[in-house]
Symmetry: C2
Subunit: 148 residues, 2 copies
DNA sequence: ATGTCTGTTACTAGATTAGATACATACTAT
DNA sequence: ATAGTATGTATCTAATCTAGTAACAGACAT
């Protein structure tokens, strides 16, 4: 249960929300409710993956490296996912057992297939979608409040 | 990176491999290369989920509660998966931020969708498939060795 | 020059994971 | 019945992982 992917999406959505103005790690950290240093660490991963870029100095901050509509959640996942989603045991199974001998290679195959399916589903949503829905929902909630 | 799912599949494949004879936790633990107590803990989860049943006493052990062809990897995943695959941060985002206010509900939706895709893919493989492929591969490797 | 912001390192506390022991309970076999 | 076997569960520990924090050199704007 690793929350880095969620944080990365949050970061990118905040940057997209600011529409072209550089966003500081302090600002993002306040929205995510965590430490600016943690945000900077993640931003450097996102930059390395080509999703963001940064301006240093006064008035600087993070920017999207390409349009929000062209950043999918799969891209984000690849940028920050550390290891495998479905893990194998640290210890090797007993090679003397007919099942133990072959099970890990087989499990790896199936896990990879399942992970690919998850990623394909993630690819259907972009940061632009996230931004649109976050804002739209807020407005719906706002107007509902006006009516009620 | 939690390996319980992998271990659970391994357990069930070993039981299936023994073709109806009760399998002790000691035997399974040797194949998985871990502690019998850990295996028993997992077996009790699998039994609670209706995938296995157990005979106590001499000559006892674990059995499949239904045919291997009717146990999918999704069933196994549901039986032993503890929490969410893609996690949200422990701390709540800042509700004063337009993005922070709505992002978690939205992330939860997308994560659930992606997880469902992964589970659907897992559902395409059964324990019978696992057993068949483990044994088949072993034989292929064997015959290749004979040829080479 | 001065102040701002990033990028990175190092450290800490807390949570999670798996390994290990122990033992009451259930069952088989004789 | 009694002895032996195997499960089911509770508890503890060590190792690993995760996120939070502080610190500081380097880059940039004014």
């Amino acid at each position: 249960m690793n929350s880095r992917f969620a944080v990365a999406v949050h970061i990118l959505t905040v940057i997209a929300h600011e529409g072209g103005n550089p966003v500081t790690s302090d600002y993002i950290a306040a929205s995510v409710n965590t430490n600016p240093s943690l945000i900077r660490r993640m931003l450097s991963q996102l930059t390395r993956a080509g999703l963001t870029r940064c301006q240093m100095g006064t008035g600087g901050g993070a920017l999207l490296a390409k349009p929000a509509a062209r950043i999918t959640l799969r891209d984000v996942y690849h940028a920050v996912a550390d290891g495998r989603l479905l893990g194998l045991p640290r210890e090797q199974p007993d090679p003397a057992c007919p099942v133990g001998r072959g099970i890990q290679a087989l499990l790896t195959e199936r896990f990879d297939g399942a992970t690919r399916a998850l990623e394909d589903e993630l690819a259907r949503t972009t940061i632009a979608d996230m931004l649109y829905e976050v804002v739209e929902r807020r407005e719906r909630r706002g107007s509902r409040r006006m009516v009620g």
